[in-house]
């Protein structure tokens, strides 16, 4: 068993209005960042977990996302990285 650090990005699903993202996009526009087309604001969750392999750690965190960390009705998630704590 080794310890792995798995990072997950959770963002509002495409098609779900993200008013926070819109507000941030507007603010970026007023700062002069005219190139901004869309902003979505989500969560970044870091899980330290014991597993045999990095793949197993990623697999476990994926299951955690499906059952608790993300709500599939409103959010998409992706494993951003798997490393060592």
């Amino acid at each position: 068993m080794s310890r792995f650090r798995v990072s997950v990005h959770i963002v509002p699903r495409t098609g779900i209005l993200d008013p926070q993202g819109h507000a941030v996009a507007d603010a970026l526009h007023s700062l002069g960042f005219a190139q901004v087309r869309d902003v979505r604001v989500g969560r970044h969750v870091v899980v330290d977990a014991d597993a045999e392999t990095p793949e197993a750690a990623g697999h476990a965190v994926r299951a955690m996302c499906e059952r608790l960390l993300a709500n599939p009705v409103i959010e998409d998630f992706e494993i951003a990285s798997i490393g060592r704590p």
Binding site: I16, L17, A23, V73
Partner: protein
């Protein structure tokens, strides 16, 4: 008839619900701590408003795993009536007792004010004491009240008459002006397919006393008595 009111850590409308049941309609109420596994012989359950577990992660996401939710689910699966108000509605959605989800208000602000909602269905155990199309004044108090669901779910809810309450404007129409939080189809409250779990964002238990100038929530509790005691 006995109402069971679940108290989660962070519930804040549980006492209002208790007083509405006991003082408002003269029925029995029992408070149920979230760590228990006993529903106290309740005939109807109320999941009250509040901020269970500080709304950590997502509103209702942690409360859904409270020990008592196992019994709440079994009660609902067996046809028991569950009234899920505000944070209770969020918990019911997270628990899968109701479809969809409640997300940040479109205007980003927490809203604490009176709104107009139209009763879209009076055939339910929760709304039979209202007149069809009746417009109610009920208070809302939420930051995450925007109802969203997949298009297919929305079509199911609409097609099966399961949108029980809708936000409306001063003319009684479900226009954008009457929609405080950006909910799809102005949805304020929905019922499950079996008709025994009703969730709504407005607070009927905070509008259940004529002395406070807001009696429109009381018939919801009277509806339950009429149906469940019958």
């Amino acid at each position: 008839m006995r109402f069971g009111i679940v108290t989660f850590p962070g519930s804040n409308s549980d006492i209002d619900a208790y007083q509405t049941v006991v003082d408002g309609i003269g029925e029995e109420a029992v408070m149920l701590w979230h760590k228990g596994h006993d529903l106290g012989g309740a005939d109807v359950l109320i999941l009250p408003g509040g901020f269970a577990y500080g709304d950590y992660l997502r509103a209702g996401a942690i409360a859904r795993f409270s020990p008592i939710m196992r019994e709440v689910r079994a009660f609902a699966d067996g046809g028991g009536r569950v009234l899920a108000i505000c944070n209770g509605f969020q918990i019911a959605c997270e628990a899968g007792l109701l479809p969809g989800a409640l997300v940040r208000n479109a205007g980003l602000k927490f809203l604490g004010r009176s709104v107009r909602v139209r009763v879209e269905s009076t055939g339910t155990a929760f709304t039979n004491a209202y007149a069809p199309g009746q417009v109610l004044r009920l208070p809302i108090a939420h930051g995450e009240g925007r109802f969203v669901a997949d298009q297919q779910v929305i079509e199911e809810l609409e097609g099966e008459g399961r949108v029980v309450m809708r936000y409306v404007d001063a003319a009684g129409d479900p226009a954008p002006e009457g929609n405080p939080n950006g909910s799809m189809h102005n949805i304020a409250g929905i019922i499950n397919a079996a008709g025994n779990v009703f969730g709504l964002m407005p607070h009927p238990e905070r509008a259940a006393d004529a002395l406070l100038g807001a009696p429109d929530g009381l018939p919801m509790f009277e509806s339950l008595v009429a149906r469940v005691a019958a």
